[in-house]
Amino acid sequence: MSENNPVKYLADSDTECQRCKAVPAVLITRKEAFCKNCFIRFIRGKQRKSMIDERYKVKYGAVQEKIGQQKVLLALSGGVSSLVLTDVVASLLQEQIESHKGRMGFELVLLNIDEFELESLNKRIEEILPILVERYAPVNIQYKVLSIESFLIDRAMIQKVLLNKDFTAIAQRLSDEQNKYTVADMLKLCPNKSSMEDLLTVIYEELILRTAFIENCETIIYGHSMTRIANEILALTVRGRGSSVYKAIADHTVQFMDKEFTILFPLRDVLFAEIIAYADLIELNKLEVKSTIVKSKITKNLTIRDLTTNYFSHLDATGYASTASTVVKTGEKLGAPQFKHSYGRCQICGVEIYQDPKEWLRRITVNDAAPIETEEEQEYVNLYKEALSSSETLDTENTHPVNICYGCIVTLSGAKQDTAFVWPLKDKDTNHEDKKVLDEYILTDDEE
């Protein structure tokens, strides 16, 4: 594997750094030899370029007035990429403080969302955060740790969701005493690990947006490397969420609660191997929060993300390392799907639905039986009906249809009929930002 690692380390070499031509190089990447400082500057340069906008600079006078104080939210998982991004951004703030007499172009807020499988981590994020932030004094960095449980704001939104054979979904409100679910409980009801993984992304995304809203952050930044973005593109495609690729991986803006947020991936041009090299060089790696769970060698026990991750590392090892960059470039060229109508938004994950997934699936997954031909066969049908009526059937009263996207249908399929699946459903037609307006301004709703 090391032989094909895109980054080659040089131990006691006489190779000179090709950038400064002053000191020996420590590594070779992209066919160029770098010394420690030049490599660090090279990686930082990627971020500087991505956040070159006026709003991230130190502003004075009229410009400052017009743009206002900016706040940037950094999604910090504790993994090596997010640590490197923190370092790169904090170093920018340090430079600004030095050259602008203590002024910064923006405030930085680190947000960590408590992992679901907390016990599996090698250290607590709370331990590393103070150490991390301390490194960049006098830059003042705020941090927040949020429990995944805060995803639930309104217990009344939780409903039991069932997928029918014809791919329609129905939901049923829960009585107060039934409704004892925590977010962890809901995740445990997922039919399989890949489904859980899928819904965890939904939770993270929403929590990050909400925090940005509450903290008044105009920008959200992620530490995704090029390799990670490529992986994301592939995983979304595999999960039937191809329509989201164009948004999910590009630097873009989103509307949330009537506000616009800029989402950036400042390390999108950096290979994962380069991120690791950076962390090694400045000894950030000792702060890394890792899962101690050893990934299974058996495919059956892996998730879709595990498989796509393995795929890319396998390509790196077999000399197809450029594939990640190809995939990212391809993903960046994608746009919004073109379909005549929209089928509204998914009530589980919130994406826009372009092509009716129920209809699509029904045509290619037929559920009609071949005709019954003999008396014996008819007897079996009767037997079956008897058995069915004696066993408890799900009460279908008080159910109502739910609009769900293809990706969520896939995620839900296989959920058991009896335990079902529960989730805080969004409204069908109105976006939640609209809902907020309704909640705030309408006093009574007689139509209900």
Binding site: G240, T330, L334, Q338, D368, Y380
Partner: protein, 376 residues
């Protein structure tokens, strides 16, 4: 009556659709436990739905089935015959086979197609590379190397099928490409960054520029594993040896990935196709360069060079032009068609080989050079 003793099928062992017969198989697409009859029913109905939704055929159409003797095309011939009769499509079906000239593979599989001709009572036309191009694949591989075999073969087959169809007075060829192939293509186009093909990777009907012949894939949503099961239960006569010239290594990695994915989530083949139907290129951003903003008239329109080295002219223009290859007279958007271009490269090579008897010619390099000539 033997049924009496066979009775006592447990209710839980009954087919999940009819509840009348014993389930004998797990359906690969969704792991539903089904009896044989219900499997046939859903398998055939789904293909029928695909055909109807895409309006593939009209009554009276003469359609050529690209038949290789392999399981996909054998099942396609069988199912199309069944559906044509059941739903009165009113089609005239013909088998069209290509003989690439691959010893130990194509000669045996063609024998299968000849038996199919009798079994399905369909006329059969065989077009050989040797007759058409004066080259067999075996000769091409020995001259150009094994690595690029499928590239040559693909270009030549495309034209051979077109010519075969034209000879039969047919303008529609159906092929046995299945859902697994579609999903693999979506992944490959993403992984190779083939944006020119990405949008079309899930198209059920394709027509190459300038060609009067359309191709379609009635098995677009049909799982490979189900095709195998159908052939097995229906005891269809097919040939299961793979071509001696294995597919290229990189495609192999995508195929492996797809297999592992399918093992943890059987629906993933459909899921990838659904995704693929939503992958579209964003409208090209026009870069406004302030210094040239005024009065810069378009003096020349740039032609985009595709990943395969060809050049896309405006699509409509190609059709209007109806250009023909200067060498072979075949419809082509370039002066010389792709097949002739490849063959010219081979001829040069063959001459060289016979002169200095150098067998270690780098075929891939020749191919790249040849394809480069296609771009202007």
């Amino acid at each position: 009556m033997t049924e009496i003793s066979a009775k006592k099928v447990k209710v839980s062992a009954l087919c999940e659709l009819c509840h009348a017969r014993k389930a004998v198989m797990k359906r690969p697409k969704n792991l539903q436990k089904l009896c044989k009859d219900c499997f046939y029913k859903v398998f055939e109905t789904e293909i029928h739905n695909t055909i109807v939704d895409a309006k593939l055929f009209s009554p009276g159409d003469k359609v050529a089935i690209g038949a290789s003797g392999g399981k996909d095309s054998t099942v396609l011939a069988s199912v199309l015959k069944t559906l044509n009769e059941r739903y009165d499509y009113g089609l005239i079906l013909v088998l069209l086979s290509i003989d690439e000239g691959i010893k130990g593979y194509r000669d045996d599989s063609l024998a299968t197609v000849k038996r199919n001709q009798v079994q399905y009572e369909m006329p059969l036309e065989i077009i050989s590379y040797r007759d058409l191009y004066n080259w067999t694949m075996d000769e091409i591989v020995s001259c150009a190397g094994i690595r690029s075999s499928c590239t040559y073969c693909g270009v030549l087959r495309r034209q051979a099928l077109d010519r075969g169809a034209a000879k039969l007075g047919i303008n529609h060829v159906v092929t046995g490409h299945n859902a697994d192939d579609m999903a693999e293509t979506v992944l490959m186009n993403l992984l190779r960054g083939d944006t020119a093909r990405l949008e079309k990777s899930c198209a059920i009907i394709t027509q190459s520029a300038g060609s009067p012949i359309k191709r379609s894939k009635p098995f677009k949503y049909t799982y490979q594993k189900e095709i195998v099961l159908y052939a097995h239960y229906k005891k269809l006569d097919y040939f299961s040896t793979e071509c001696t010239y294995a597919p290229e290594a990189f495609r192999g990695t995508a195929r492996e990935l797809l297999k592992s994915l399918e093992s943890i989530r059987p629906s993933c083949i459909m899921d990838i196709i659904y995704s693929g139907e939503h992958l579209v290129l964003a409208p090209k951003k026009k870069k406004i360069t302030t210094s040239y903003k005024t009065n810069k008239k378009k003096t020349h329109t740039e032609n985009e060079v595709n990943a395969d080295g060809s050049v896309s002219l405006g699509r409509k223009k190609q059709f209007e032009d109806g250009n023909r290859c200067e060498k072979c007279g075949y419809l082509s958007s370039n002066r010389i068609c792709k097949a002739c271009m490849l063959l010219a490269g081979l001829e040069m090579n063959r001459a060289k080989v016979s002169i200095d008897n150098n067998t270690a010619v780098d075929g891939a390099a020749v191919l790249t050079r040849t394809l480069e000539q296609l771009s202007f």
